[in-house]
Symmetry: C2
Subunit: 288 residues, 2 copies
């Protein structure tokens, strides 16, 4: 297995840690990124550089991508120099970007025409989960492709769940973001209400953080709101991207999700005020 | 201390368990309720019955109330036969109903004129927390009254926090409900989205329940939504009452909390459809 050569595209905050786990596990790792310094950092640790995505595609058995936006995914997969035009038959493509379910299905169907397989496998757990290899990985695609990828996923994550056919991993990640979206509003409003009526918001959190109001966001992000720490754990701009994908999917299904609509509207307002590079807890700014 | 006679008004699901803990702790307990069968259940265990609220008021050192709606609190405290007109000087009144902060302040100020003290001390933790004496108790009023009540609170709860002057306990409980309100929308929308796009919602929950989307409501109520179990843990009608109190408080402060507004609108719609005696997870009905 460790003779497998894995291509890796997308050495951002998440991707960098994930690539390092693959190296540590003994895989031959071939990397490409737009920024030379990011490539150097990982080639210094034993990865091999590729000249471009086309060359990377020709050299690898498995290729992992984790880039920014759906348009970046489209470029990496569909351009002339991209993966799909250059992979060898039998290649396994794994997109771990949070992207759209329909794009995931398109990639999988074209991969099939090239005799290759594709999985959508977005993650949650943030930079900390990536560093500690405790990511939750939500996987869509053929079960055989999932089985083939599982040892690779196990080097990066803990909660690895096969969700169903192509696009299912992305759909599941959207569920995650939909649940978080409305909850962020509730956390902001609880903290803002406490502050405005003259409670000590920390004492308020002591009372409510272990009961029916408890949530990851309340317990982890409310204290950051209170201390004015809006540093990015997860960027506002990326959350807006995810909610936009969810919203488009919801519209196409003719569903009505007023909580997501409201969250998207509030986060877009926050971005318009110049805070798109803050962390998602900066939603609290709208309530101050 | 155990010579203290405690009056108890409100032997509902919560109150019944709380009263039993006081009996077990050795307090002399004097009870009154509208429904004779509820009184009998607890007098069979050693509590003494009162003829009416006025007579109860005259016999007790500490009086605990946990009734349904603010109008019930008003009747118990302000009517001619009510507590305030009949208490002895030195009495400690503790309202554990989730009610309005302004009503709590009104009770405290009139109690003071009678040489008595009053605390607002709403709880969270539900019937299970009441049974197991693990309630979270959020307390507003004078610190001296809090200190006096603490041994009593310890028989019923675990997370007991002094929040500040009269009304602060109620304000804190409203923070709890405000946080839950928006989160319930997010949980419903995540589950509904999964079901509509053809995911296995249980697998979806396996993927997202331990990460940044995790919450008490997701982990405890989403599985009930999926199995169509809308039995009340916490009634829709009581949640609407709490959100209405919060909404009125927010309006009076000229604040804007669009998440709470949306939740209140959705829950009122649910009640209009005839589901006010369901549990709060029945919000999922609107998405089915």
């Amino acid at each position: 297995m460790k003779n497998t050569s894995i291509g890796f595209i997308g050495l951002g905050v998440m991707g960098k840690s994930m690539a390092e786990h693959l190296l540590k596990a003994g895989y031959q790792l071939i990397v490409w990124a737009r920024t030379p310094s990011k490539v150097r950092e990982i080639t210094d640790r034993g990865a091999l550089p590729a000249d471009n995505t086309a060359e990377l595609a020709r050299r690898c058995d498995i290729i992992i991508t984790i880039v920014g936006f759906p348009k970046d995914v489209e470029e990496v997969y569909f351009s002339d120099n991209g993966l799909l035009a250059n992979i060898r038959p039998g290649t396994l493509l794994i997109d771990m970007t949070t992207s759209s379910p329909s794009l995931a299905r398109r990639i999988a169907s074209i991969a099939l025409k090239h005799g290759a397989q594709a999985l959508d496998a977005p993650v949650s757990g943030g930079d900390k989960g990536a560093q500690e290899a405790t990511l939750s990985i939500m996987v869509g695609g053929d079960q055989t492709a999932f089985d083939r990828a599982l040892p690779v996923f196990r080097t990066m994550g803990k909660n690895i769940v096969y969700q169903g056919p192509s696009g299912s991993g992305q759909h599941c990640k959207l569920c995650n973001q939909i649940a978080i979206a409305s909850n962020m509003i509730g956390v902001c409003e609880a903290v803002a209400y406490a502050a405005r009526v003259g409670l000590d918001p920390k004492k308020m959190l002591t009372s409510i953080s272990s009961g029916a109001a408890a949530s990851w966001s309340l317990n982890n992000l409310a204290p950051r709101m209170l201390s004015g720490n809006f540093d990015p754990g997860f960027y506002v701009k990326h959350f807006i991207k995810d909610m936009t994908i969810a919203s488009e999917s919801i519209d196409s299904l003719k569903l009505n999700m007023p909580g997501l609509d409201l969250a998207l509207r509030l986060y877009r307002k926050l971005a318009e005020q110049g805070y798109e590079n803050d962390g998602t807890q900066a939603l609290y700014r709208l309530y101050q």
